[in-house]
Amino acid sequence: MYHKLTEEDVFALRELVGEEAVLFGDQISRDYAKDELGGIERMPEAVVTVRSEEQVVRVMRYAYEKTIPVTVRGSGTGLVGGAVPKEGGILLHTAKMNRILELDEENFTVTVEPGVLLMDLAAFAEEHDYLYPPDPGEKSATVGGNISTNAGGMRAVKYGVTRDYVRGLTVVTPTGEVLHLGGKVAKNSTGYSLKDLIIGSEGTLGIITEAILKLLPLPKYSVSLLVPFKDRKSAIEAVPKIIRSEVTPTAVEYMAKETILYAENYLGKKFPDTSSDAYILLTFDGSTEGQIEADRKTVAELCLSLGAPDAYLIDTEERKKAVWSARGAFLEAIKASTTEMDECDVVVPVGKIDEFIDYTHRLAEETGLRIPSFGHAGDGNLHIYLCRDGLGEEEWEEAKKACFDGMYEKAASLGGLVSGEHGIGYAKKEYLKKQYGEGPVSLMQGIKRVFDPKNLLNPGKICF
């Protein structure tokens, strides 16, 4: 059904985007066959690096005419196989479309191309005294990738997720048509929100070529608080109480001692305190020092009244670095502690976090797998890792399946969902279908057919 690329196609593509921009056959590095998720690989037939919307249109029109599948890739930092070209075809590499096009200080927006890296966008905004609030752990991800997965991150408790900051999108459809969705406007009740359909669609409906993002004034002050608890249960139970107090922290992260020790090992640097089994790390930001000090005091007092032995103050660049660098290294530290790992990014109602983590500990005992976790305690989004360690291929696959089946079923029973921020991609398809069932999945499939009748864009992902 799909057309296999020939020398002739490569020649034609090179005519469209330039000789250097097309890699074919042996020229393609294996890196393009996978993302950060281990285990799923497929080589693309060609890698096409585009530098403009016009080039995206040309390539897409050609692919549509020839029925060649197209998978979009930014930095390739996804964790669910979303950028793996499952059917081969063209891998459309958009990382070089990385210009920041406009800062509109009247409307508090920044317009960017999809290949701009999250860290570059954050730094650009800060330089101009603005904040781009979405703050996923992977700072080298592209903005296009963040929009495609509706990435969340640590500041979601106060500021929400990527979707809340996308005002407008320019999208190239599978037929090569350019759509302008949304705009610089703050409100929009103009028919179906197609822009919101594109956000989180993981490159299956259209190719994002431009995004208008909302900015906030940069909070002038920020402090953190590290609160030790005697065990996980008392730490997690404190979270909804903190959120119910009159203070809104920017971030509320749960850290188990075990995970902190992996980070110490990985970074070769001691964490300021490891005397307790569980920690909650909170951040407060605001425009006056007095306000954040008062917020921090309120929460510190609350935590002490809930039985926390202390609350540690993190107020300088050095202290923030000592604590947050460890938090930022958790994923890589766990990865480095094992031979292979797979992850689960479920989101459960905040009040059910403890029950869910408790369940993962029981699973670890039953299956013998090591299952470290950490999470955004403030929004119920957990990152749970299955570590292969010394297991043989067959045992690993078997244990992994048993754990995933159990965890997704448990999450669903608690009112949770399959993915909080990493997306469905290829790896979590089965679980999405299982949880949502026939009705919602066939609606998703219908939407996909309307946008992409030939099923060319990122085939084999999310709902197909």
Partner: protein
């Protein structure tokens, strides 16, 4: 065992602005913090007191608001601290500063060990520790990495000397200047903060000192004068290497070699 740690309040941001006309550091309204290098000294001191028994006190010189770093040191495990504050101390260079500190130490009593950070982030001279030891007439070891043992009036330690590590013993009392990054300083405790008492922060002025000769303090007691302060030039040079893997590696290697980084 009685331990004293000398600390200093410095500007809170590492990007301190210098007034282009007067050449003076802009401190007004800027947040301040404890000199980051002093945190390593304080952590080492507190952990030694925990290990070998004893108490830790802190000492600083500065305006009355320097009280904040004394309170912070108490939150990190010191039992109390002293601010040396007097208009007569203003404008001191390293010589006058270390002499003023030595008078503070003499007033406070005897200590077995005195710790200093390696340097400060605002002055960057790294001289006050050694000059304080001189003024007190006690031995001084710089670049201390660890303290292994304390017994029979002696301290056994390791210290860095360029690319060597020295194993030393010193007779107490002595002054140890502590290297950077030798430990992870503990975080200030909120539980202690809410219980800090007035008497844990003491103020001493010129009138309290054994030596009340004004010539020895502040600008009068300084052997050096600052002519001009200016921010170092920022290096914003960027170079992007493009091309194939081998090409980029070759270009990068060439760059590293030409800058004599290898």
């Amino acid at each position: 065992m009685k331990i004293l740690v000398c600390i200093k309040q410095v500007p809170g941001s590492n990007n301190v602005e210098v007034d282009p006309v007067t050449g003076v550091l802009k401190r007004d309204g800027a947040a301040s913090k404890m000199n980051p290098y002093d945190l390593y000294a304080l952590e080492l001191a507190v952990s030694l007191a925990e290990r070998f028994g004893g108490t830790v006190e802190t000492l600083t010189m500065g305006p009355p608001q320097a009280k904040a770093v004394i309170v912070e040191s108490v939150c990190m495990g010191a039992s109390r601290g002293t601010v040396l504050s007097d208009r007569k101390f203003a404008g001191a260079d390293v010589l006058a500063t270390s002499y003023t500190l030595s008078q503070g130490v003499r007033k406070l009593g005897d200590f077995d060990l005195i710790f200093c950070g390696k340097q400060t982030t605002d002055g960057d001279t790294a001289q006050v520790g050694a000059e304080l030891a001189e003024a007190l007439g006690i031995p001084n070891v710089t670049g201390v990495l660890s303290v292994e043992e304390i017994k029979d009036g002696e301290v056994f330690l390791t210290a860095a000397l360029d690319n060597r590590v020295l194993t030393l013993k010193a007779k107490m009392p002595c002054l140890l200047s502590v290297g950077a990054d030798i430990n992870t300083p503990r975080l200030p405790s909120y539980r202690i903060l809410r219980e800090v008492k007035e008497e844990q922060v003491r103020f001493l002025s010129f009138e309290d000192f054994p030596d009340r000769e004004e010539k020895h303090y502040g600008l009068n007691g300084s052997a050096t004068q600052v002519e001009r302060i200016f921010p170092p030039e920022k290096n914003t040079e960027k170079k992007t290497v493009e091309g194939g893997v081998e090409e980029m590696a070759e270009a990068l290697f060439g760059l590293i070699q030409s800058r004599k980084l290898l």
